[in-house]
Point group: C2
Chain length 455, copies 2
């Protein structure tokens, strides 16, 4: 029967890609309030799709923010229940001029589909929908019970999902959770992510005078908010990229030799990555490898900074405000709230005289690690390897899926992070895309997995 | 006859203000190429006005960039010839949302005229035009000969005017130059500016990877161009606002005790200025007073800085480029070319690994000081004092009028800087305006001056 399910996916491939394009066309950018209607349309699209593939129950459920879509297909109380989590919201698209095709007009080129959300995460959510559809069409039942939870605020840090999960812990009760919102470590290499970084951030707004000033009349007298902000931001790190915020590293156990060896075994081709990103060299926290720095060590990055004149040429202005948006990627056992407090204290301590400063915290997510010898993780590896014919890599993800740590904590179930993206698919950047070979092989892997879980 | 000239100005005040509004309506922003047509229209407006007030000669003359308007009225070879310099171009208007009325829809409120260019410099150029018109109407001749040179690139550093002056040194030959593009030190106080700061600047463009990256996937591995730029910019100054660029202060003689005393005598009300700008305190180079720092000492200011996400909320991106626009105000005998080179060398020396940097020089102007005991300067003080009934202050201006040093050097004539603005008229900022009491009293002062020069 499993083979017929896979055949169904094969036979309907063109139709499925057309459907995926419809999903990708919806500009469901959760961070921009002008896209609220689009975000709600993406939720409706998922709800309708769940009905269409044969779920008895599918509904949009409100939160304090954007809604979640919940659905279930429960036929066999003996079979294990899988909670599938994903998100229908996407990142903003600027800078728009760097996109080769429109972000919300999906285009297939070179066996890749290009669109905002193609790999993060609509494409991968869609794979689960089609796998469940294929199983229900062929079996008229399913080897496992499904619960589906697709949210709309992942890209803004899932501020309302923990409360939702807490309030609906019974509804979401399952034996394991499966999340496809990560990437293979490289083309053709099955990859299970056993850890994720958390997230905490702040926005810093520095104000000087009550209006922009002439830099000749006032320059030298009135403090320039950009210089004040530069002074604050430069104090966050030393030249070896070590974070200087008090207490930042306090709760992080040193990496064990064992883990450092495991991370050293993860494939990493420095020259190839340098060439593909076109950077002259890498630069990060001293004393750690690239892999460690991007997955097992915390970071502090300015995501955006701006003040003063941005036009063409010269404008001799002394600006009156400047802003920086900063996020940290966290590792166990850093606590996002403590980190936000430490950042805030640091900013206030480093603000020079002559300006005022305001710090706004961003929503946060906890870091996460899980043991990778759990049977549901080992079965995921088996499912992958049958398709990809290569040994599974166990990695720690550099990114954050804020709800993963919360699901683990609230529902107390293992979370299996089996993603099918690739690291160079430009997620969060112009020209996001998804390799269709992983669309095909990933769906086969998921079919395998659900049949393996049955036993 | 002088009294009739002043009466003429009085009688025609309403008509003149209407004409000034027409001039101010032209959005002649020289730094933005999309306004090129407007800049040319402003030049035409000045040319027509010169014809209309009775000049025998007035024409638009080409340069390598935007044109100058030249006119002359020469009736008496015995009389001194005055070269009047000003500019018809204006600064950009962003941030537009902070303007209370449209920048190019002049509005008179509270006996002030609000518009971009009202005080810098269209309003003051217009005063000269009306004074000359009044004299020619009443006298049918003039106590002095006039040459008029109004340019269109002052706000972008007058890149082409030095070459123009060099190529037309004979045409521009005069006994003195008069420039009204500065401010009274305070309301009611005649002010002659005997020094001006020069200008030199660079744009710094830092590039990282070939596209924006996911801050989770790459954060900690790939150098963030904003952090690189922050590191560069923070290295420009120490915490006491001293510039750390090698050689920056080398060519500046220490201020003499005499000059420090003169500058200390310039009216300055710290509390009042702090309240009017709404800043908690001032902050500038240690060891110098506010007046010294804003006029007799050089500065380095970031006029604009930007990179990464600028939208609402959060976007966890590792940006791939960042830019800073920097200008220095210079004092004698700093050389703009040497300073640009020193800044450029500094940037390259301070650029961290993992990024590439590009430095673009901005056009420059030399600093200027002139002895204030010259007879044409003393007559200007006399002309002022007869109207304002207050003793003249001799100050050094913090801003730059790049061509002043060049006129001095090329034509070898004294340059008299007698301006009629006020320091809080928001030049280069939203809600630029010009006090009409100085429009009236300034024109009387100019009439006085031209009659005094005759003798």
């Amino acid at each position: 029967m499993k083979d017929q399910v896979i055949q169904f996916l094969h036979d309907n491939r063109d139709k499925h890609l057309k459907q995926l394009e419809e999903f990708l066309k919806i500009p469901s950018i959760s961070s921009l309030s002008e896209h609220k209607e689009d975000v709600l349309n993406a939720a409706k699209w998922v709800e309708q799709e769940l009905h269409q593939i044969g779920f008895e129950q599918a509904r949009i459920m409100e939160t304090e923010g954007l809604p979640v879509v919940y659905g279930e297909y429960i036929q066999n109380p003996e079979a294990p229940t899988v909670l599938i989590y994903g998100h229908y919201d996407v990142q903003p698209v600027d800078p728009l001029h760097l996109w080769e095709s429109e972000p919300f007009a999906p285009e297939i080129r070179d066996n890749k589909i290009f669109a905002r959300g193609a790999t993060d995460d609509k494409g991968q959510v869609f794979m689960h929908l089609k796998v469940m559809e294929a199983i229900l069409s062929m079996e008229k039942t399913s080897p496992v019970n499904f619960k589906v939870l697709i949210e709309g605020e992942e890209e803004v840090g899932s501020p309302n999902l923990p409360a939702f999960a807490q309030n609906h812990a019974d509804l979401l009760k399952a034996d394991l959770a499966v999340v496809s919102d990560s990437a293979l470590v490289e083309k053709g290499k099955p990859t299970i992510t056993y850890g994720l970084r958390g997230l905490a951030g702040i926005q810093i707004d520095v104000k000087g005078a009550n209006s922009d000033l002439h830099s000749g009349e006032y320059g030298g007298g009135v403090m320039n908010p950009i210089h004040a902000l530069v002074e604050i931001v430069s104090s966050f790190k030393d030249k070896e990229q070590k974070v200087l915020v008090d207490g930042f590293y306090d709760d992080i156990p040193e990496l064990s030799e064992e883990e450092r060896e495991a991370l050293a075994a993860v494939p990493f081709d420095e020259e190839k990555l340098k060439n593909s990103l076109e950077v002259p060299s890498f630069n990060g926290e001293k004393g750690y490898t690239y892999t460690e720095r991007t997955s097992a060590r915390p970071t502090l990055e300015v995501n955006g900074m701006f003040g003063g004149f941005q036009g063409e040429g010269i404008k001799t202005v002394l600006p009156n405000e400047a802003t920086a948006k900063i996020t940290c990627r966290l590792v166990p056992d850093q606590d996002p709230e403590k980190i936000v407090q430490a950042l805030t204290d640091h900013v206030h301590a480093q603000t020079p005289k002559g300006v005022t400063v305001e710090v706004t915290p961003f929503d946060k997510g906890k870091p996460y690690v899980t043991p990778f010898d759990h049977p549901v993780i080992q079965k995921a590896a088996e499912a992958y390897e049958a398709v990809y014919k290569s040994e599974t890599a166990y990695i720690r993800g550099g990114g954050s899926i804020p709800i993963v740590a919360e699901l683990d904590e609230i529902l107390n179930i293992p979370v299996v992070l089996m993603g099918f993206g690739l690291p160079d698919e430009n997620l969060h950047a112009p020209n996001e895309h998804f390799h269709l070979e992983n669309f095909d092989q990933g769906m086969q892997t998921l079919v395998n997995y659900f049949y393996l879980l049955k036993n």
